[in-house]
Amino acid sequence: MDRRSFLSLQPEAKKPALHAARTNTGLSKYTGAWTANEVQHLLKRTLFGSTKADIDMFTSLGLAASVNQLINYTSPLPAPPLNDYNSATITDPAVAPGATWVNNPTNDGTINGQRRSSFKKWWAGIMINQESNIREKMTLFWANLFGTESNEIANAHWVYNHHTLLRQNAVGNYRQLIKQVTIDPGMLRYLNGYINASTAPDENYARELQELFTLGKGPTVQYSEADVRAAAKVLTGWRINASFVSYFDPARHDTTPKQFSSYYGSKIITGKTGAAGAGETDELIDMIFLKDEVSKYICRRLYIWFVYYKIDAAAEQNVIEPLAKIFRDNGYEMKPVLRALFESQHFFDVLNQGCFIKSPVDNVISCLREFGVVFPTSYTNQYIMWNYIRNWYASMTQDVGDPPDVSGWPAYYQEPQFHEIWINSDTLPKRNRFTDTMITSGYSSSGQKIVIDAVAFIKKLNNPADPNKLIDEILQVIYRVPMSAATKQSIKQQILLSNQAEDHYWTDAWNIYIQNPSTANFNIVNNRLKILLQYFMNLPEYQLS
């Protein structure tokens, strides 16, 4: 696969100049207040939306225990995707409907196409049903970093296995992950590793390994074109057999010595014949990982993923450098880095709160999870609903499972706009349309419906009868941007009180409904709640995390 040029969407928006410096806070432990506000800041960055129950739970844990809960999970891997695609015209010859296809690889293009769709629907379901830990956001982080495209990999078996590798190692050891990804069939297929032979080495993976997966590009990163060629030679010989498994073929391996530049200390990786040639791959990776730049690069990628897209000189010095050192000192284990970041003053700095434009998948999945949208229980209906959901974020330019190219989504790297790229005059109305649909009619199929149940949602809050507290509690769950008291008062009056002046009209209506949940009483409160939630979700504030 050839590298494609980056997207560069440039809507003509004038932005106010950023006068104030960002902040000088660093990695010292955060010791400030631990309230629902801080909890939500942490949860909205690390989860796809959090419910009231989550907020309460994490608030009671305190910071250290919360971070521990997020990164020290023991959840088993989810059950694999199923055959949801048998139809009048398509029959999977090896897999019955409702059974998993991941153990029956095939070369059939039609079946693989169906399975790739099944995979994407299933992935949506995993995120919707995620547990309260960081695994899903990290799995997506790696998927974005490696930029693998399922359409390019084509074989759904490799797509699933590659994906599972990322989830298994979501908070594991990064160097180990690189080593496994390098010889994973999905990656070998994606970046041509499987046809990289000594006769004519293919530099695709050799380049991306350095430029995108470990070192990045920048003034301090000085690997050369010669290094790329040398690395390509090291990587020759890896293949995929007829059983869809990767293996090393010494006959296709370049056994000459591979000379690296002064950037790598002029290291020479001696060529080895036979099966030992496979070991050169690990030597290459170990050589790369000797560079401090690797730890800095990954820490910057994590920073952009979890904190903000702008890393100024202060952040580089006070956050990235010490984080990178922790990374190196711990042998490239992810957990110490994540812990240090999420327990830091810098992470909880107010200037880093509420400034993150939610990605499409975050926008969509968070909405479903915050409001507790109930999904059907039978797999056929689930896959239909998950398909509906994943088509939404795909239409908002984030087709999870198929990023635009190996660089991942431009929101995470494209200067100067970064996450503002998610928002344009086509995608913003789509976000509104999604939330409008979910709060009004929902989506119905085969007699099942997914919809936001406004009344059920507010029943879980502490004070639904008090219109002032109700608004505050709702905003605590769905907003990160504060709203002025005067604005909340106007909204309360116009929507919850139907232009009446007194709070008790809402309180009475709610209490009457609770005592007698007739259709009429239900409609009175439900209509107003839906309008309220729809209004909040239509404001630009809702897009921020």
């Binding site: 809507p11 928006a13 004038k14 932005k15 106010p16 950023l18 006068h19 104030a20 902040t23 207040a33 506000n37 700095d349 107010v350 200037l351 880093n352 709160q353 509420g354 400034c355 993150f356 434009i357 503002e420 928002i423 344009n424 005059s425 086509d426 913003l428 109305p429 789509k430 509104n432 349309r433 009004t440 009619s441 941007v481 504060p482 002025s484 008291a485 005067a486 604005t487 008062q489 106007s490 116009q494 929507i495 139907s498 232009n499 009446q500 002046a501 009209y505 209506a509 259709t519 009429a520 409609n523 009175i524 209509n527 309008i531 209004y535 239509n538 404001l539 630009p540 504030e541 921020l544």
Partner: protein, 529 residues
């Protein structure tokens, strides 16, 4: 920086509700769907506009439109808040009824033939809850039926089928309905989506016109919020149309200051003149829930209710004058409504509690000026639970407006209004078939009565009909319908008598209501032991 300081910098000082909110995002649909609209047979091209003025809280109708005839009983029922007889504003050619002294603007409009005052507008089995009653008025449902869309929404859905797909269109580039000063309304809720667009408050409107952005704090969050708002604004095609329309009207007439209704109506006039093809505007004004001290004890012509009515009257008058000055008065019809009236008998707090029927005002150059209906009957000794029985179903008013102003044909009308409602001659649009007032429309003749009255068990009810659809209902004093005595199509005019066995009824005041075409009449009956 600590959070408190951060919040201080973040939150705007003014209570401006953020931005202009679309009823439903439209741009995303227009690009995607190639579906061609169905033939627009019901579509009627018109430049007529309806302005709906919502008075929130339940306006005290009896102190608004005051019986001069029968003043004694009125005074007796609400001594602590009754308007002095000498203060009642007189209407040309009307002897029996007058207006609250604050309604000078209305008086002027009436005398110029530009207002129709409809007495005792309500509906069977009225609901006394603000929320439910408001929903009933907006959805035009029966009181025991819940309908989740609005009468205007259904009308707009009929005229602009498939909205928002393929909108804005060349034929209709503008919002279908605009609501100023409130976030949203059931009135404009169509069967599937909201048909209306909100301009949340006048400040937002002027910010939009003058390209003033809502302030954001000078930090990363503020920066991103500003970007999001810019895109939101660029995306909303209607916003730009509104801006263009507003900029096309550099000057307007004078409107009273410190009057939020006037501020809203000023924007409406500007947008109509500016060339929007929007047919429906909604504005709202609240504070009418006057349970206590609705007057100043020593001078009942003043006080809370008087101020509210003054604001409404002066705002509407200014609007009408501005419409004339801008040359758009031919296009404009206005209508007030409130979710209910208030109790006949005042309470001890100097106020009134929730009631039922109340007057409704139609204003505009082409209104058929006049007073529609009779003074509510007020007994000599009113009990605390008694309410004004309705003479006209509010849905008749809606139906008449749709029929006579927007030229909605009958079959469509029934579909929009969900049922047939009697048509009242209210407004002249020469393009629509006009409804001629019946010769005995405002007749003083008794069309329905009962004998014996008072009665202990059964009573005979005699009624005159011109033929056609005839409805005779029995209602109790709270306005709840007790029985439909007759609902029939009579082939010819005639007088009929039917026996009504009311022996099972609790003693008290009841009303028999006759409805026959445009005619209706309500007559009180008394059941005794």
């Amino acid at each position: 920086m600590d959070r408190r300081k951060f919040l201080k910098q973040t939150l705007p000082a003014a209570g401006v509700i953020p931005g202009v909110v679309d009823g439903f995002p439209i741009r995303a649909f227009a690009a995607e769907n190639g579906f061609i609209q169905a033939a627009m047979l019901p579509y009627v091209e018109t430049d007529k506009v309806l302005v709906i003025v919502q008075l929130s809280g339940g306006n005290d109708g009896l102190n608004t439109v005051i019986p001069i005839d029968g003043y004694g009983n009125y005074l007796n029922a609400r001594k602590n808040i009754a308007i002095p007889e000498t203060g009642i504003l007189r209407l040309d050619g009307v002897s029996k009824t007058g207006l609250h002294p604050s309604l000078k603007g209305f008086q002027q409009l009436y005398n110029e033939g530009r207002m129709n005052i409809i007495q005792a507008v309500g509906y069977p089995s009225p609901n006394f809850s603000h929320f439910r009653a408001t929903d009933i008025w907006m959805s035009a449902s029966d009181s025991n039926t819940v309908i989740n869309n609005g009468w205007m929404g259904r009308y707009l859905d009929d005229q602009y089928p498939g909205f928002p797909t393929n909108y804005p269109s060349a034929q209709m580039p503008d919002p279908l309905a605009i609501q100023v000063g409130s976030i949203t309304s059931l009135t404009c809720q169509g069967p599937a989506v909201s048909m209306g667009m909100s301009i949340t408050d006048p400040t937002s409107f002027y910010n939009l016109v003058d390209n003033v952005e809502d302030p954001v704090p000078n930090n990363p969050m503020g920066r991103e919020l500003s970007y999001l708002r810019q895109i939101a604004r660029q995306t909303n095609k209607y916003t730009e149309r509104i801006r263009q329309a507003a900029l096309a009207v550099p000057t307007q007439g004078t409107y009273p200051a410190n009057n939020s209704l006037a501020a809203q109506l000023k924007i409406v006039a500007r947008l109509i003149k500016g060339g929007l093809k929007t047919r429906v505007y909604m504005v709202s004004f609240g504070g009418f829930d006057t349970h206590a001290t609705q007057v100043v004890g020593t001078n009942t012509a003043t006080g809370t209710h008087a101020n509210l009515l003054n604001n409404v009257s002066s705002a509407v008058k200014a609007f009408m004058d501005d419409a004339k000055g801008l040359g758009i008065q031919d296009r404009v019809l206005g209508m007030t409504f409130s979710e209910f009236g208030r109790r006949i008998k005042s309470n001890a707090s100097g106020g009134t509690d929730h009631g039922s029927a109340a007057p409704l005002f139609l204003f505009g150059k082409d209104v058929m000026g006049g007073l529609t209906g009779n003074n509510p009957t007020i007994a000599a000794n009113v009990t605390v639970g008694e309410n004004v029985p309705y003479q006209y179903d509010f849905r008749s008013v809606y139906a008449s407006v749709l029929q006579q102003w927007f030229c909605v044909p009958d079959n469509t009308l029934q579909q929009i209004m969900l049922k047939n409602f009697q048509s009242l001659p209210l407004v002249n649009n020469s393009k629509c078939a006009s409804v001629r007032p019946g010769s005995s429309f405002t007749n003083e003749n008794v069309l329905v009565f009962n004998y014996p009255n008072p009665f202990t068990s059964s009573t005979k009810i005699t009624f005159k009909t011109k033929g056609g659809h005839t409805l005779v209902q029995i209602m109790n004093a709270s306005g709840h319908m007790v029985r439909v005595l007759i609902e029939k199509e009579y082939p010819d005019a005639g007088t009929h008598t039917v026996s009504f066995d009311g022996g099972y009824l609790a003693p008290g005041v009841y009303y028999v209501r006759l409805q026959n075409g445009q005619i209706q009449q309500v007559k009180g009956m008394l059941k005794v032991r």
